[in-house]
């Protein structure tokens, strides 16, 4: 299992989308494509933007399909970050529905 520690790359305020994209491309996608489960650990992150969460996970869901959500666990999320993740995960699947 791969663990992605967001704070190590993005700090306490996760807002840099380039950082999110790099985490996705370099860690999330290879692990998920290899059939691993991935834990995204938000410990130490006090605040994130929707743009950051989007750049981190949206394209994973769109490119790999909705089933990939079952292979990702989000750990140590505060309530605000949890709310953001739920929004992004939902509308990312919305986009898939539109493409069907």
């Amino acid at each position: 299992m791969t663990v992605v520690v967001v704070a190590d790359a993005a700090g306490a305020f996760a807002e840099n989308k380039d950082v999110a994209r790099n985490l996705r491309r370099e860690l999330l996608v290879p692990a998920l494509a290899g059939g691993e489960t991935v834990t995204i650990d938000f410990g130490g992150v006090e605040l994130a933007t929707q743009s950051f969460i989007h750049a981190l996970v949206s394209d994973v869901i769109r490119s790999m399909g909705p089933n990939v959500v079952d292979s990702i666990a989000f750990r140590n999320c505060n309530d605000a970050i949890r709310g953001l993740i739920e929004i992004v995960v939902e509308y990312s699947q919305e986009g898939l529905q539109d493409e069907e």
């Binding site: 933007t49 743009s51 949206s58 089933n67 989000f74 929004i87 509308y91």
Partner: protein, 321 residues
């Protein structure tokens, strides 16, 4: 620059602009009093930088007004290249404002963010307010950096008003403007129409597809508007000749976050003097209100209700451990 220009009466500043000659900037002031929102300072500094970058001429009078020291400590005259004739010790106001800052890179933005927490040190509801302010600054400045192609980057500043327990933020760029940005993927006939589209969640100028690209979701301005609406504050977007102003709305009605900006209490104006880029201003209250987590929950409800209500039953849910 008028004697008074907050977000509630930002038209007092905008209507005085003449942007017909971008090689020449002349700044004049009300002769007795100048009290303006940071968005006005950001716009004027940005204009000064643009004209200077273009090899043009910037000139400004130095107003003999009681608020001159404020304009000096906010570094307005630094960006206009004009000697104000006085020097002001900043220590008394330190921590209560973030002066005009040019932001071109991630590092510039990060340095600006560092100043947000001291801005509110020791104030009530500090933690939640800092979250809100960092969030909106990030979204507004990143919009400018990623979409505007501004030659001078973005200019930002902020001011904490202790009496009203409010932080006011202004961001301005001299880029392509929202209409040109949205036109890359959507048919828009005016700046105002482009602003309306940009405020809707899931729509971005980088793709015609709902929900955006792998890098842009098209929801930054929607979230920012939601923050202003939830706390019953003003939010202004001025781009090209279009101006959108979210008003506070009735205090007797609980504010509702809307996906459709036409449902908001707002003023829409076109045929304003054309701004060569985009200017955004927002106020954030420090008073007790919705926590950031509660706001995210409310925004999530909007997505459920208005964007995906008929399909959500098929969605898989994220797992939290």
């Amino acid at each position: 620059m008028p004697n008074s220009a907050g977000l509630q009466n930002i038209e007092a500043f905008v209507r005085r602009l003449d942007t017909s000659d971008l090689s020449n900037l002349r700044v004049s002031f009300h002769d007795r009093w100048v009290a303006v929102h940071p968005v006005v300072l950001a716009a004027v500094a940005c204009a000064g930088a643009l004209v200077t970058q273009n090899g043009g001429k910037v000139s400004s009078e130095v107003p003999k007004v009681a608020t001159l020291p404020y304009l000096v400590v906010m570094r307005l005259f630094d960006w206009l290249g004009v000697n104000p004739g006085i020097s002001v010790t900043e220590h008394e106001a330190a921590g209560r404002f973030i002066p005009l800052t040019q932001i071109r890179t991630d590092a510039d933005l990060a340095a600006f963010m560092v100043k947000v927490t001291p801005l509110l040190h020791g104030q009530p509801h500090q933690r939640e307010a800092v979250n809100y302010i960092k969030y909106v600054v990030s979204e507004l400045v990143r919009n400018a950096l990623e979409h505007a192609a501004s030659q001078v980057g973005a200019f930002a500043c902020a001011q904490y008003y202790k009496n009203t327990k409010r932080v006011s933020i202004g961001v301005a760029d001299a880029g392509i403007g929202i209409q040109a940005s949205m036109s890359r993927s959507h048919p828009v006939r005016s700046s105002l129409e482009a602003i309306e589209l940009a405020l809707r969640p899931g729509i971005t100028g980088t793709t015609a597809r709902y929900g955006g690209t792998e890098y842009n979701a098209g929801a930054g301005l929607f979230f920012t508007k939601a923050i202003a609406r939830a706390s019953r504050n003003f939010f202004v977007i001025y781009s090209g000749d279009g101006l959108f102003k979210l008003r506070k709305g009735s205090s007797r009605v609980e504010p509702v976050i809307q996906a459709d900006p036409k449902m908001d209490p707002a003023t829409w104006r076109n045929e304003m003097p054309t701004w060569p880029g985009t200017v955004t201003g927002i106020d954030v209250s420090l008073e007790a209100g919705r926590t950031f987590a509660q706001l995210m929950s409310a925004i999530g409800d909007v997505y459920h209700r208005e964007v995906a209500a008929d399909k959500k039953a098929r969605y898989r849910r994220p797992t939290f451990t």
